[in-house]
């Protein structure tokens, strides 16, 4: 039992750090540091750089283009990526549908879809939730009826993050209603967003941004070869996907980076007044959160170590999701409070590329703190609400 890195791990850390320092494009870095929202082109360009280095799909098996890294290497990579403050890989292709396709898909599907996911040639989005199916996902009603060599899809998917940028959507659809359990008769299907009858409607979220969408399907005809695995087994596949999703939602490395930024910020004078770091109450709350985050970091490491010896991320990924999102939201709130009155102006336009930074109200991104806080209330709701995660742990870990 030891906490330090081996010489090989330290070499690896240097290699990753050098890569991020030299290869992360300056113009994207500049946007990130100035809190200017990234365009689709920025994400794709960065992911293609990762792809060329062989690092686009860290967790994939080597034969499909993954890295074959140890748990510790993955941990180091995530931490260096967060420290360099690069954007994350957009999860829908690499972290969500990719693993489903290489695990359950046909050879033809693997050959057709995996290379484009790895190279970021195709942008994916997720069609799980429906207006009437939130936490109770198995109640979903979007239907796919067989008609010759096609399925005909009708229904509505919602909360589709960045669906406005997507080329393809993976969906859970009902292929049979004549089933003993609602979880049966659900299938996992891949749909080209350009198919006639498919339309995208924006949903504006609490902070005023267009991040999520509602997707309507009206007699959308999808070839049967786009069905992944067996008809009626989609629920099983989808559950595995959610476990992968939950593990990455914890975003421990990102939270560590944000906590460092918070501590740097409060060490500076506040608009000519004393630094907030002199406020004992505030500092003690930061310290309590830091301890919680350290515990989470080691819980994640313990989970990674378990996965490394062959265990798939199981119900413990629910623990990471709950605690990880609680820490993120705790940080969001501390950033707002650190900004004080400068958290309150609603001036999103000043985070445009051509808006002179010197004309901004508030220092740096102070006025974005509350927008982030509002937006990120989603974290304890998406990916299966934290209450649903507790149901999962109660049932599958505690046996209740």
């Amino acid at each position: 039992m030891h906490v330090s890195f081996t010489a090989e791990e330290l070499d690896f850390q240097r290699e990753v750090r050098d890569f991020f320092e030299t290869e992360f494009p300056d113009d994207i870095r500049d946007k990130v540091m100035r809190d200017i929202p990234l365009e689709k082109e920025d994400y794709v360009r960065w992911q293609k750089i990762l792809y060329r280095r062989g690092w686009a799909a860290v967790n994939w098996p080597v034969e499909h283009g993954g890295t074959g890294w140890t748990a510790i290497q993955k941990y180091i990579y995530a931490n260096e990526m967060a420290t360099a403050n690069t954007p994350d890989v957009i999860p829908f292709g690499v972290k969500m549908v990719g693993p489903i396709i290489y695990t359950y898909g046909s050879e033809a599907q693997k050959a057709r879809f995996l290379p484009d996911i790895l190279e970021s040639n195709v942008w994916w989005c997720q069609g799980y939730s429906e207006p009437g199916s939130g936490s109770d996902l198995a109640s979903l009603k979007t239907r796919a009826d067989r008609d010759g060599d096609h399925y005909v899809i009708n229904g509505t998917k919602t909360w589709t993050t960045l669906g406005q940028m997507a080329d393809w959507i993976f969906c859970l659809v009902r292929t049979s209603s004549d089933v003993a359990r609602r979880q049966e008769g659900i299938s996992f299907i891949l749909v080209d967003m350009q198919t006639p009858g498919l339309s995208v409607r924006p949903i504006i979220t609490i902070e005023g941004e267009h991040e999520v969408n509602e997707i309507h399907f009206e007699d959308v005809r999808v070839p049967v070869e786009n069905l992944v695995g067996e008809e009626g087994k989609g629920w099983t596949y989808g559950k595995v996907l959610l476990q992968h999703e939950r593990t990455s939602i914890a975003a421990v490395a990102r939270s560590k980076y944000r906590l460092r930024r918070l501590k740097e910020r409060i060490a500076q004078p506040y608009h000519g007044g004393p630094p907030l770091a002199e406020d004992r109450n505030f500092v003690r709350r930061v310290a309590a959160l830091e301890i919680e985050l350290k515990a989470l970091e080691y819980t994640e490491l313990r989970t990674l170590a378990a996965v490394a010896v062959g265990n798939a991320p199981g119900p413990e990924s629910s623990l990471l999701k709950i605690r990880g999102t609680e820490v993120q939201q705790g940080l969001d709130a501390l950033f707002v409070e650190a900004a004080g009155y400068y958290a309150l102006p609603f001036v999103p336009d000043q985070y445009a590329l051509d808006f002179p930074e010197s004309d901004r109200i508030g220092h740096g991104s102070e006025t974005r703190t509350s927008l982030r806080y509002f937006n990120n209330r989603k974290a304890s709701i998406y990916g299966g609400s934290n209450e649903i995660q507790k149901n999962i742990i109660a049932k599958h870990v505690l046996g209740l």
Partner: protein, 375 residues
């Protein structure tokens, strides 16, 4: 970074676990707790024969070269068994001072008999006015020819009533703060030493000491004159780590017993574990147990490597035990309902031991401040 333990470490943990399972059930524990003796002298001898009293000392000192990892593995099991026997006082506290600072002569005289189990020892780490600050010492050591005269008061001397020797930190008159503190091995039959022994709320034992002109020879001093605080602080850190590991064992046991109870306790015609209001709280306590174990592993690994940030990590851990651990313990009692507050049920006694650990060597507030002070 590696969480695996060696075969030897696994064997040690299994040997303690077997003892707890086979020879230290709750009934036996309560018989010892309610007897006139502070602990089972017979079992203490067994511990010595099994080598447990030797684990944490170097081979040169007659030990088995164990460190923080071995300490953690043993203490978690002791927590699970609600062990009353004075491992902390003898081995971690008094033994901790001796292994760090005693001369070869002092070691062969005192440490070997502690390892053999033939001498009971204690460390007087606290004074009434000091709350949790071990550096706040008013007890004085006045040079008197080639001897010292000790005057002052000590509180919460764990195992003080059973000890043959108590290690007493005292200050050279006229010194202040961190300087001028020396450590003295004081035989408990010394003239001028009054020991008021009592049972603590967790069925362990401790004592208040009054020292009034207690004369000790110069060779009773452990470590250099005025150099005692560094040793004392290191020992208290190790002891804090020890009780945190014990607490993690207690928390997990309370959580497991509560989940089990909720599956069997029928109300409104169904097991109470079927109620979502209780399920979510038991999930919360599971998460708190896992998060606490994570911090424990972190602090233990840093300590084992002698990392300078180990003391800060130990404070983070103690804060966690004082907050998360308290929640686990309180929920366990609550979900057991009325039975949770009876003397009859083990849950009540786990709760009391955890409550003692919350205060021992500093509560959550104290350690959050100390965590911050480490920068």
């Amino acid at each position: 970074m590696d969480f695996s333990v060696t075969d030897e470490q696994t064997m040690l943990a299994e040997s303690v676990a077997r003892f707890i399972d086979n020879d230290y059930d709750f009934e036996r524990r309560m018989r010892i707790a309610e007897s006139d003796e502070a602990f089972s002298a017979e079992l203490w001898q067994t511990f010595a024969e099994l080598g447990w009293t030797a684990v944490l000392f170097s081979e040169k000192d007659g030990g088995l070269d164990g460190g923080p990892i071995e300490l953690m593995l043993m203490m978690e099991q002791f927590g699970r068994g609600l062990l009353i026997e004075p491992f902390l006082a003898n081995i971690v506290l008094a033994g901790g001072v001796l292994k760090r600072s005693a001369s070869d002569e002092q070691k062969s005289e005192l440490l070997s008999s502690i390892i053999e189990g033939s001498t009971q020892a204690a460390l007087a780490f606290a004074e009434p006015q000091a709350r949790f600050d071990v550096a706040d010492i008013r007890t004085t050591a006045t040079i008197n020819g080639d001897a010292y005269a000790l005057d002052g008061r000590k509180c919460m001397v764990l195992n003080g009533g059973s000890a043959d020797v108590i290690i007493v930190p005292a200050r050279t008159p006229g010194t202040k703060g961190d300087d001028g503190i020396s450590l003295f091995a004081v035989p408990t039959d010394s003239d001028g030493l009054t020991i008021a022994s009592y049972q603590t709320v967790d069925a362990q034992s401790a004592a208040e000491l009054e020292l009034s002109g207690v004369a000790v020879p110069a060779e009773a001093m452990i470590g250099g004159q005025g150099r005692g605080l560094e040793t004392l602080a290191a020992v208290i850190d190790e002891a804090t780590l020890a009780v945190c590991a014990e607490a993690v064992g207690i928390m997990r046991t309370m959580h497991d017993k509560t989940v089990e109870y909720s599956k069997n306790r029928i109300q409104f015609g169904v097991p109470i574990g079927s109620f979502q209001a209780l399920q979510h709280r038991m999930v919360d306590t599971l998460m708190l147990c896992e998060q606490s174990r994570s911090l424990l592993l972190w602090a233990v690994m840093l300590s084992a490597e002698g990392d300078p940030s180990a003391a800060k990590a130990i404070s983070a851990l103690k804060y966690q035990i004082g907050t998360a651990g308290r929640q686990v313990a309180q929920e366990a009692v609550q979900i057991h309902g009325g039975m949770g507050v009876t003397w009859e049920l083990d849950i009540a006694h786990y709760f009391k031991r955890h409550s003692v650990i919350e205060l021992l060597f500093g509560n959550a507030d104290f350690h959050l401040d100390r965590y911050l002070a480490h920068g």
